[in-house]
């Protein structure tokens, strides 16, 4: 696979977390008929994903449910171990399955989950949640001051008022802020946010997104923002990666990917997003042509995984998997894994 062209700005921002050829196959329980055969089936949740997170930048990963985007977050945080591929944190290879090395990895790479209703323990107060995170990762240090700083940082002020509260006494947005504060307690360099706003009400989503952006600017966190909402990715992220059926099919600068989408799947995603400016019933070309559903990841289509749904599919698409080709201006860092661009960039 041709390495995607590095963005022009790569020299100015340093790479924190990098994944090369990241792959995760989940084994499938064998059926009776297969017990004696050598064939082992697996769900190819993530296949050969390259990813770079930079200090002070937000990378968005956009895709449908089942495209493997949450698995990428779990792999990067080492909650599950990759089948193949390499993760490096500041150029050091990460292999932290358990114990001290796992905790050391956690300290630097933290995860924020989708559902703040489930990720906070209902029988414990905010103080307990944050104290635990602070004590595990930083045994010394002033606890009261630490708690105070954390809550102020996520704009839950005055902090004293929130410390004694239980999760059920908080609104969804406040709960997600507590979850973010808990992630910050470890003092991480990387924040993996797995659909952090999709469970929240529309009117408070922006508050949480703006908070994350503020953290990026002040703490210079490298943020991976996982979402299915491509409009919010455009709003919030510096770089956008589009995932389909376990593979990254397009990547590049947020504006370039959303405004000049190259891969037919990205175009389908954009055409499907609700757009108030469009007249009711009117369909764009891409949305009308590409029907169907994402493929089974146990037995994905050969070649390009999107080809059965693709309106532009050619003979080559069903046999050979496309490498990434640069699209747009040279050096813009925008690339797509699609045979349509075979002649354009190489």
């Amino acid at each position: 696979m041709v390495a995607p062209t590095e963005p022009a700005a790569s020299g100015t921002t340093d790479v924190v977390l990098e994944a090369v050829g990241l792959t995760k196959h989940f084994p499938v329980r064998r059926r009776a008929a297969e017990l004696l055969s050598r064939r082992r089936r697996a769900v190819r949740a993530v296949d050969d994903v390259d990813l770079v997170l930079r200090r002070g930048r937000v990378t968005a990963m956009v895709g449908e449910s089942g495209s493997g985007k949450s698995t990428v977050a779990r792999l990067l945080s080492q909650l599950v171990h990759q089948t193949a591929g390499r993760i490096t944190l500041h150029d050091e290879v990460v292999d932290a399955r358990r114990g001290r090395r796992f905790r050391a990895h956690c300290r630097r790479v933290q995860l924020v989950f989708q559902d703040p209703f489930a990720s906070l323990n209902p029988i414990h107060t905010v103080r307990y949640h944050l104290t635990r995170a602070l004590r595990i990762h930083h045994r010394d240090g002033d606890l009261t001051q630490g708690l105070h700083d954390l809550l102020t940082r996520v704009s839950l002020t005055p902090p004293e008022q929130f410390l004694a509260k239980y999760p059920h006494e908080l609104s969804g947005g406040q709960r997600q802020r507590v979850a973010i504060a808990r992630a910050l307690a470890a003092g991480p360099e990387v924040l993996l946010a797995d659909e952090p706003v999709s469970m929240l009400d529309v009117s408070i989503r922006l508050g949480v997104l703006n908070l994350l952006r503020d953290l990026r600017d002040r703490l210079h966190l490298a943020i991976l923002y996982i979402t299915h909402d491509i409009a919010s990715a455009r709003y919030f992220a510096d770089e956008v990666l589009v995932m389909y059926a376990g593979q990254v099919v397009e990547g590049g600068d947020g504006e370039a990917v959303t405004q000049r989408a190259a891969h037919p799947y990205t175009r389908l995603l954009i055409a499907s997003a609700p757009d108030p400016d469009r007249i009711a019933g009117e369909q764009t070309e891409d949305a009308a042509q590409a029907g169907g559903e994402p493929p089974s990841l146990i037995d994905p289509p050969a070649g390009c995984r999107f080809h059965p749904r693709c309106p532009h599919a050619m003979a080559r698409c069903s046999t050979e998997a496309p490498p990434s080709f640069a699209v747009g201006d040279n050096g813009s860092g925008h690339w797509a894994a699609c045979w349509l661009y075979a002649g354009a960039g190489s």
Binding site: S171, V202, A231
Partner: protein
């Protein structure tokens, strides 16, 4: 749109619980659904939009209680029917045949141990017992084809279908008895954007072909602007604005509608800084006095905290077929 009302809700109030402990989830809501119209009902979680839909169809399980109000159903030629005073027997005949509902967790509303065919024919058998099994099966095939599912899927169990297909089976089931009104409670929330668009496009097409009215409940205002004719916005159990979709989008009057419209980032056009709405939705157990939105409202002024505004045609735009409950726009008349 011919403009005749099909469903007319008048002053509906719904509580959870009784006496002093009651939580007023829906307060004095009046809303009209016209023939062939898609009426969008938008609001945050806890704003009472689902409670309103279940309340008006008398589907609310205890402790939900319809405290007051009337709901008139206009069957076309006959006299209007008042749903709240309908006898149990007539209500049973009325439901699904006249008004059908696609539930919020539609993916989980199908019975996992029965095939799609059984569940579809069951609906027809319950309401039209004189039909033959063969006729019911033929009708089931017809319904599945209508929503774009191959007829050989009839023998499938729900777990063998994808989320989008299950959702389409639910829509097919809702259309089984050719109702005049279909209530859709967050029908696409659990689906991906691509599938969501396919299903909504199907719905728009079916509505044009069959001609039913839709009450579409969702929290996603951007979706409603594109797909519905009229939009009613709920906040804290009340309707705060009711206007044709285009007018609401271009020229919203209530500060809450305005906030909602500026809460989702745009996919096209210039990138702008967005703020959302400060604060959080009100607690139904302790509602603010006056207008429920006033603690979060950037334009709040004196009367807002004291008196509750009523839903009226805005000043100077009485001819525009829209209403709003806000002191900014209905000050003159409501003050007197």
């Amino acid at each position: 749109m011919s403009g005749e009302p099909v469903l007319d809700i008048r002053g509906l109030s719904v509580d959870y619980g009784l006496g002093d402990a009651a939580v007023h989830a829906v307060r004095d809501v009046s809303l009209t659904l016209h023939r062939g119209e898609v009426l969008g009902l938008a609001g945050e979680s806890g704003s009472g939009k689902s409670t309103l839909a279940y309340g008006m169809l008398r589907l609310l399980p205890p402790p939900g209680v319809v405290r007051s109000g009337q709901v008139f159903y206009h069957p076309g030629d006959d006299e209007p029917v008042e749903l709240m005073s309908l006898s149990a027997k007539r209500l049973r005949r009325f439901r699904w045949a006249e008004v059908a509902i696609v539930f919020q967790g539609a993916m989980n509303s199908l019975n996992p141990v029965h095939t799609v065919a059984t569940q579809l024919t069951d609906v027809i058998a319950a309401h039209e017992p004189r039909t033959t099994p063969a006729a019911r099966r033929a009708r089931a095939v017809e319904l599945l084809t209508l929503v774009g599912i191959n007829a050989d899927r009839l023998g499938s169990f729900p777990h063998q279908l994808s989320g989008g297909m299950r959702q389409r089976v639910m829509i097919a089931m809702a259309l089984a008895l050719e109702p005049r009104v279909v209530v859709m409670d967050e029908p696409t929330t659990a689906l991906d954007v691509v599938m969501q668009r396919q299903i909504l496009a199907k719905l728009v097409e079916l509505r044009e072909r069959i001609g039913f009215s839709v009450l579409f409940i969702t929290h996603d205002l951007s979706l409603l602007v594109e797909f519905s004719d009229r939009i009613a916005i709920m906040y804290g159990g009340r309707i705060v604005e009711d206007a044709p979709a285009g007018q609401l989008y271009r020229d919203s009057l209530h500060p809450y509608s305005d906030g909602l419209l500026h809460s989702f980032p745009a996919l096209r056009g210039p990138r702008r800084e967005l703020t959302g709405i400060p604060g959080s939705p009100p607690d139904l157990r302790a509602m603010p006095s006056g207008c429920a939105f006033h603690p979060r409202c950037p334009k709040a002024f004196d009367p807002c905290a004291e008196r509750t505004p009523t839903l009226l045609a805005p000043d100077g735009r009485e001819d525009q077929n829209r209403t709003v409950a806000c002191w900014l726009h209905t000050a003159d008349r409501a003050m007197t």
